[in-house]
């Protein structure tokens, strides 16, 4: 009997233009939490997809308990008690929790669903692992954190022993992450073996026993967590020492770039206004951070600033020009750049090529035109220039379909497009969400570079570390009001937390120091 419940030996997998996995070996002990660490595009998801049967490796073997096994599809994986929580959940939104859990392994009698039997098992599992999931709720009505628990229950319902989590914390709020860590510890205590894909080092330090590091498709090594440090892990992952603290010069604030006066924005979710009479400024050469728990009006505020939605009342000016009623393109031309919250929905046309996405806001400029037709050559030249300047990596260069690129490189493409416009004001909403440490460092550097070149930056973030680290001034938003204004040097994460949760408020009208 082998020590390892799962061994992936010398796995190699190629995609057109990219060697996603190059001779990788990963060994999972029974009952351990094993982290798989690497930047976006390092090959973590590919490796796990091979284990789960979504892809087949060109070379290499998978062993379970020392026996060689073949995994050609998810059914094979399931038969070997391997389950996976995908980064993008595989849940049918209009189905109930119960229907999603039993889908594929439905208990039936004469092919009629036995819902009651399934419900009993789900309730029992939910209690055993403290998941508190409501079996009859619809997926579309429950939070992302709850949806993830449904995915976990899906694996438990199938009696899976090996649980793969693909970037489970990327979509969660800090509170939900804390709860997930507790759940993972609970799973481990019940004897489950867990593979945990991530690029967040503090999570690994908190929950993992061992960690395998991948970089550019290659296996860098496996380390015991109690014998390593954040610094060592990040060096292994990125291949060089990483600046974890953002280095920036002292603030030299200039003139007011963005002035928001008494802005009120309606909500699409409920009858109340999502943003209530908010006023604040962003000056040249400063990074203003809007901190708050998700759903407190940040999105609506940004929609109103960028022109996606019209405000109910109020005024916004950019360097003295009134933009309250301007179109999105006019705002863009006036100097607002926008790194959107949802890069798939607002940032990119996923089925367009990288080059087309990079000129999405300027294809109409004369330089990209010839006799009324788009000048492909000029577009490609411009794209190639941005690709090398901003280090955007993709399979087929400017012609890569954006959908096939990794999240980090998709985000880099947006950053390149938005910054290259040389904006007066850069609005960035959670620009580092779901990105790895190298990409986060890169994005932070770009934000600070904008600030240092005398631009205004408005950053919306849910991550307090980021808020404290990057910003020059912090505004806390709670239920559509700005309830506090802070200097990051003079406040603490705990204090911000109190304001974000609505426990304290200190209404700011006018918004200027």
């Amino acid at each position: 009997m082998s020590d390892f419940i799962i061994e992936m030996l010398q796995i190699t997998k190629e995609f057109p233009g990219i060697k996603a996995n190059d001779n990788i070996t990963l060994q999972l002990k029974k009952g351990e939490v094993h982290a798989l660490l690497g930047e976006n595009g390092a090959g973590k998801s590919t490796l796990m997809s091979i284990l789960f049967g979504l892809y087949q490796a060109e070379h290499g073997e998978i062993h379970k308990n020392g026996q060689k096994v073949l995994i050609n599809n998810p059914n094979d994986a399931n038969a070997l008690n391997i389950g996976m929580v995908h980064q993008h959940f595989k849940l049918v939104e209009v189905f109930s929790v119960l229907e999603n859990i039993i889908l594929g392994v439905e208990p039936t009698k004469y092919s009629v669903l036995k819902r009651n039997e399934a419900r009993q098992k789900i309730v029992q599992l939910s209690q055993q692992y403290k998941l508190s999931v409501e079996p009859d709720a619809l997926i579309e009505d429950i939070s992302v954190g709850m949806q993830q628990r449904v995915e976990i229950l899906k694996m438990l319902y199938r009696d899976n022993e090996i649980l793969i989590f693909d970037e489970p914390t990327a979509v969660l709020t800090p509170q939900e992450i804390k709860e997930l860590m507790a759940i993972i510890r609970g799973l481990k205590a019940e004897g489950k073996s867990i593979l945990f894909i991530t690029h967040k080092l503090n999570e690994i330090m908190e929950v993992a026993d061992r960690c395998t590091v991948l970089r550019k498709g290659q296996c860098i090594g496996t380390v015991d967590i109690d014998q390593t440090s954040v610094e060592e892990l990040s060096r292994m992952m990125v291949g060089r020492p990483v600046q974890l603290i953002v280095d920036k010069a002292d603030l030299i604030p200039g003139e007011i770039v963005l002035a928001v006066e008494h802005l009120t924005v309606a909500s699409k979710l409920h009858k109340n206004n999502a943003v209530k009479d908010v006023s604040f400024n962003v000056r040249a050469g400063e990074i203003v951070c809007l901190a708050g728990i998700e759903g407190n009006g940040q999105s609506e505020l940004i929609y109103a600033l960028t022109g996606i939605e019209k405000p109910v009342s109020g005024r916004l000016t950019l360097k003295g020009h009134d933009l309250t009623k301007s179109s999105i393109r006019d705002r863009s031309k006036a100097g607002i750049s926008h790194i959107p919250e949802d890069r798939h929905k607002f940032g990119l046309v996923l089925d367009y090529s990288l080059a087309e996405n990079l000129v999405l806001q300027r294809y109409w400029e004369p330089r990209f035109h010839q006799n009324g037709l788009i000048n492909r050559e000029a577009v490609n030249q411009y794209a190639d220039n941005l690709i090398s300047k901003y280090d955007i990596r993709s399979g087929q260069g400017a012609q890569t379909i954006v959908r096939s690129m990794s999240g980090g490189n998709q985000q880099k493409a947006i950053v390149a497009r938005e910054i290259d416009k040389n904006p007066e004001l850069l609005i960035a909403i959670q620009p580092t969400r779901g990105l790895d440490i190298g990409a986060i460092e890169y994005i932070h550097t770009q934000l600070v570079a904008q600030r240092d070149s005398g631009k205004g930056v408005l950053l919306v973030s849910l991550e307090l570390d980021e808020v404290m680290n990057v910003s020059d001034r912090i505004l806390v938003i709670y239920e559509g009001n700005i309830v506090g204004e802070f200097d990051p040097k003079e406040t603490t994460v705990e204090q911000l937390g109190l304001y974000m949760a609505g426990a304290r408020r200190n209404d700011v009208k006018g918004g200027q120091v």
Partner: protein
């Protein structure tokens, strides 16, 4: 009162093809494949079942085994419709072609083929395939005598009763059960909503989409026969846009079998009001307008447009319909 009975009876007979075909469309779309070819499939089903009934009449055994012949005709219509729909499944599921274009091609092919075959069987210019009258279910089938002056209920039930009506009701009940209570229904709906999710739990999305399209072909084929019976004057290589009509019924019915039933009755009622407008006393006759008889006949089509304008925004189509499933795409 007899007029009311007539109207109800006519509404039912016109609602049956709409119900069958819209339910068929629902199976296909619930699996994730838009079936715009319903019109063409109806024509194919109607063509072969009419030819079959015609053959049964000519060979003489049909009249003596009327309801058996009718049941076989229903099967012929269903099976030929199913076979024809497999072309759509092949194009849109296996070959991942655009589903709208594939469906349109089938719609264009079907009426032309029907004319060619009608002429080949019956002779040049003989476009109409006549349906024998013995397929009607009468009081005699239940051992009752046919009265000279039928009462309200008798008129309502026996004015237009064909085997397609009970068959459609059984199919409706079966559909409600299948879609919501069985493993098959759960998996079918999952394929139409989130095929990646279905695939990740080991469901064969391609197979279920084939089945969805095949069932829609079977039902649309029967629907073609039901329409031909309702239209009354035999099969003339057309189903008069009822396939598209059924699509509207399906959307108005929000891809839900019970609501589709309601929608089918609703649309059929307007169709019947159109035809009976002359004999309904309280309806204005617009006699000052030239060709005023056509005003009411436009009614069902106008109502369709108006209703779709107001409901299509709220209606909730299966999320993944119209997108060919490709395992590789993220």
């Amino acid at each position: 009162m007899i007029i009311l009975a007539d109207i109800i009876s006519a509404t039912i007979i016109f609602a049956i093809p709409l119900l069958l075909v819209a339910l068929g469309g629902m199976y296909s779309e619930r699996s994730g494949t838009i079936n715009i070819a319903l019109e063409g499939i109806m024509i194919i089903g109607a063509l072969f079942s009419s030819l079959f009934l015609n053959y049964a009449e000519k060979s003489g055994w049909g009249a003596s085994h009327a309801q058996l012949a009718m049941l076989l005709a229903i099967l012929v219509g269903g099976v030929t419709g199913l076979i024809y729909s497999l072309l759509l499944a092949l194009a849109s599921v296996s070959l991942k072609a655009d589903q709208t274009i594939g469906g349109t091609a089938l719609n264009l092919f079907a009426p032309a083929f029907a004319i060619v075959l009608s002429w080949a069987v019956q002779g040049q210019g003989q476009t109409t395939i006549y349906i024998p009258t013995w397929i009607k279910i009468t009081q005699a089938n239940f051992g009752l005598t046919i009265s000279e002056n039928p009462g309200f209920w008798e008129a309502m039930i026996f004015k237009n009763l064909y085997l397609t009506t009970p068959v459609a009701i059984v199919i409706l009940a079966l559909t409600i059960f299948l879609i919501y209570q069985t493993r098959f229904g759960l998996r079918l709906r999952a394929c139409g909503e989130h095929p990646q999710a279905a695939d990740s739990v080991g469901i064969n999305v391609y197979k279920l989409r084939y089945i969805g399209v095949a069932i829609s072909g079977f039902l649309a084929g029967i629907g073609g026969l039901a329409f031909t019976i309702a239209a009354g004057s035999g099969f003339q290589s057309t189903v008069a846009g009822y396939g598209f009509f059924a699509l509207a019924v399906m959307i108005f019915g929000n891809w839900n079998p019970i609501r589709i039933f309601g929608a089918a009755l609703f649309f059929a009622l307007f169709k019947v009001i159109g035809s009976y407008s002359g004999s309904i006393p309280f309806l204005p006759s617009f006699s000052g307008i030239k060709y005023s008889q056509y005003l009411y006949q436009m009614l069902p089509y106008i109502v369709t447009m108006i209703i779709l304008v107001f409901t299509s925004k709220k209606s909730r189509a299966p999320k993944a319909e119209g997108i060919p499933y490709d395992k590789g795409s993220r």
